[in-house]
Symmetry: D2
Subunit: 157 residues, 4 copies
């Protein structure tokens, strides 16, 4: 049973609850690639980038966790396997950052910026695609594939 | 893919971080029975009752979520598949209550009492084994099997 | 300036957001007595027992802090001097318990029970008037005056 | 009593727990000016910029609130009148942002950046001195006096 006990890596995807079609496609590919690499996806569980990433991961048979701001599991998008209802509003962002071993930030506004800031404060690596540019442990990627590859590389550092 | 999308029920197990051998065995059986019924187990992720329940669930190939008080995934007992690091201390108890669709309380002290109280405040059913007696939607069970059967029945109400 | 720096004691009042007239009067007297003894009152900032206690304290020129579940200071009852907006829902109960040096529980349902449970878990003294009966460091008082006297005595232990 | 009931404005000061002497002096002046204008100061309650601002405010007879990450009121710097112990770690940053009607950011690293990001997400005005430059409702000030004047102006908008 010991081998079963080895935990899968958990990768976080952060980004806005609304996004353009272009960003949605990027996030979906990120989700696919996370699942193909046998990692668990954690995100905020709502729409936009979060939904797209979950959709991609489920399309490849992955596991998806949604850390919800509200207290109702039904708030989760339909691609979330495990809706975690926090009832803590924006404070739930911190849980995503603490739990993920590496974060991929896609697009996003101030909510995403707060998550990037927390990640950098906690020395958690962040890979960014078309998102905020902040000095620190935030590395840029130019494609969904590159983003997940860089994230996986960080896990093994 | 739609049938895959149907979420598994999530059952919470609450109880102390330390317990007697008798209580440990009860919690382990509760965990086994939860997994046998294809439900996901959520708990506080630490020792005692939480560890025993996770151990039982993993023994039957179940999925276990640990909502940790600290910010380090390594705090989780070794039977937790998905360690959720909250960094919020005791406030994490509320997340377990919101997320579980039914709770099984086993033994436990004041931390467990706070979780039972929250469950009753949120109209979430609680099945108790050898735990606090509180007026309200808290039903007693006299065996691990009965506890899980009652919990599953609540899910279908 | 050193003497000014000495902090005033902070006493918590916990109880339901709705209450009978009889309970309202008791809570108001508790608030008065807290202020007369130069202690700061902390509570959940909403209606019922919380409002009554704040009203009593302001009537005697005291200071009142309301730890609000929502993110809007305007949710506070009008007798709260310092509305602290947490946006964390029920998780804010824990802040009241950590911050108060002693708690007075008046009436109340499951929310109040969760606060009493946290207080006992944290070894924080609780004085109860017409509230839940729990084994542990929960002492009963039979009048508002007795409750505050017992709370003040706990501060000096 | 109605006029007493009118709440004082609450201004937040955010910045690092460690800072240079130059930044300490700036923060102290900000605190003085907040108190001189009869506003309440809220901050994270620890050292560095937080301590300096509280020291300045107390020097002018102001009221200071410290929203602490830990569960122990004794963690507060000695210029905090009202230590609010949250036990929620970094999640306490959000409480400062929700509670303050305007924020003054001084220097600071990623923790401060997360607070600025939350403020902008919540449409809460931020005045910055020698801090991060972010697009959005973040206005720069070049002196402590200017910062507080701008903050007070925001309150009346």
């Amino acid at each position: 049973m010991d081998s079963e006990m080895k935990r899968k890596p958990i990768i976080g995807v952060i980004g806005g609850g609304e996004c353009t079609e272009e960003i949605y496609k990027i996030a979906e590919k990120v989700g696919k690639k996370i699942a193909e690499n046998n990692a668990v996806l954690i995100c905020g569980g709502l729409g936009g980038v979060m939904e797209a990433a979950c959709k991609g991961a489920k399309n490849r048979g992955g596991t998806t966790i949604g850390i919800l701001p509200g207290n109702n599991r039904d708030d989760a998008n339909k691609y979330v396997d495990l809706p975690i209802a926090t009832g803590m509003g924006y404070a739930r962002n911190i849980i995503i950052v603490y739990t993920a071993q590496c974060l991929i930030a896609i697009d996003g506004k101030y909510g995403t910026l707060s998550e990037i800031a927390y990640a950098l404060a906690f020395n958690k690596p962040v890979i960014g695609i078309k998102t905020h540019k902040i000095e620190g442990n935030l590395e840029e990627a130019h494609s969904p594939e590159e983003a997940v590859e860089k994230a996986l590389a960080k896990l093994n550092e």
